[in-house]
Point group: C2
Chain length 261, copies 2
């Protein structure tokens, strides 16, 4: 009815014109929901639980939010606002994109449950819109809007792909209620059986030899990010301001001079 009148949650006004003053707010509800999801997972952020968190009755939330799905949209957009993109573009595109990538990764690590929220059709909340403006503004002067979209998709894809793995591990551990050593100990019989069967030589190799899972995630992330930025650099005109010169493909080896500041 009146619900279907609105195209989406962003077009629905939070406060009507008349009537008594609301005791809560969308922002407050969203904040509480994010807090619960951070601590106990998204599935713990039930309407009743959120209401209890702010001292309201369960059904009161529906005065502010049409449905739980819409609330999750609000939560997701709130997270977008955590990524610091002020003063972008700064003139140094590489520094800007690095700062964005770091911010996106850090946000995911603070809110692992974001992995379970499918991005779906673009929701275009206010924070996400601002993010788009600032982020795509970085390369807007140098490339076409289509190329820009491609680069941003690649960058987002890289960051999210990388961080999704560690985030979902952490979530699974939290859900199981076990610590990582406990989990390892628990699955040891299974892993052992697989190894002893002799049917999985590469799996065995991973278990017995690989050191990668123990390497710093941070290092892996920076290493891969460098490649993504290098790739972008090859498609940018030389007029693009950056702390590093654009290099041709195939370049590898030790990391060059890191862009300072």
């Amino acid at each position: 009815m009146t619900d279907a009148e609105y195209v989406n949650i962003w077009m629905r006004p939070e406060r009507p014109a008349r009537g008594p003053k609301p005791a809560y707010s969308r922002a407050q509800i969203t904040e509480a929901a994010v807090r619960i999801a951070d601590a106990e997972g998204l599935e713990a952020a039930t309407m009743r639980r959120i209401a209890a968190e702010i001292g309201a009755g369960a059904m009161s939330l529906y005065r502010y939010v049409p449905s739980r799905d819409n609330l999750i949209e609000l939560m997701a957009d709130r997270l977008m606002g955590e990524i610091d993109v002020t003063d972008m573009p700064s003139g140094d595109w590489r520094a800007d994109l690095t700062r964005y990538a770091d911010g996106l990764r850090a946000m995911w690590l603070r809110h692992p449950w974001i992995a379970t929220v499918q991005r779906s059709l673009p929701s275009f909340g206010p924070n996400q819109l601002l993010l788009i403006e600032r982020l795509m503004g970085v390369l807007d002067a140098f490339v076409s809007i289509d190329e820009n979209l491609g680069f941003v998709a690649m960058l987002n894809g890289y960051v999210e792909g990388t961080v999704r793995e560690e985030v979902s591990s952490a979530e699974e551990l939290r859900r199981s209620g076990l610590s990582e050593p406990e989990w390892m100990a628990r699955s040891h019989p299974y892993v052992d059986q697989l190894v002893k069967s002799g049917k999985y030589p590469i799996f065995t190799k991973i278990v017995t030899e690989a050191r990668r899972p123990h390497l710093s995630r941070e290092d892996q992330f920076r290493h891969g990010l460098k490649h993504v930025l290098d790739y972008i650099a090859t498609a940018l005109p030389p007029t693009a301001g950056s702390a590093m010169p654009a290099s041709r493909e195939g370049r590898e080896g030790q990391d060059g001079p890191a862009q300072g500041s």
Copy 2:
């Protein structure tokens, strides 16, 4: 109790020694669940719905599967089995990895709900294990196990990141019950308002100028995949057999550098 005895679903035997013959099977249940999830989304695959699909009572499923979460693990592993990795490694690593990437992408497109199943801690079902063996066997002879893990993570990350976008769009559309033009028409007032506000120049540019969303997903995928494979190529020794020259001879078998067990 007896549930907690087992490390995971893969160690729990499907059939006990004694008693009457089961009327159904894990495979049959998993199949039905996948069929429902494909057609109506994962959330439609409830225990009752799955049971009805195979003509069983709801609680009968619990004779075969300890919980719905475990059933979803079975479903996910069944999907891994759809990816054709027979005859890998073939000697042409580039062809092998391309075939794998195509297969992975096609599988995602057939089963969009996989995007909502977090990979979590590696579950190591039989199909996934076989996939690991075949896929990582492709580069095993040329690089260390750590490098191999890195490449596979990158390849998986690229494919999943690319396909996740289109898949989640399709899922969202299906959930909303609208066709894509219908959805576009519906959100037009909101987009229009954003454009008219003048506050979002880049968003406006995307809406009015960008052609990328209309380009072939297939082309985009192949283009990006080429870059991923090119990057892998730069880190491989020249002895690695690929399609570049027609060196039928240069193939090395499973014998890599030192490894023994």
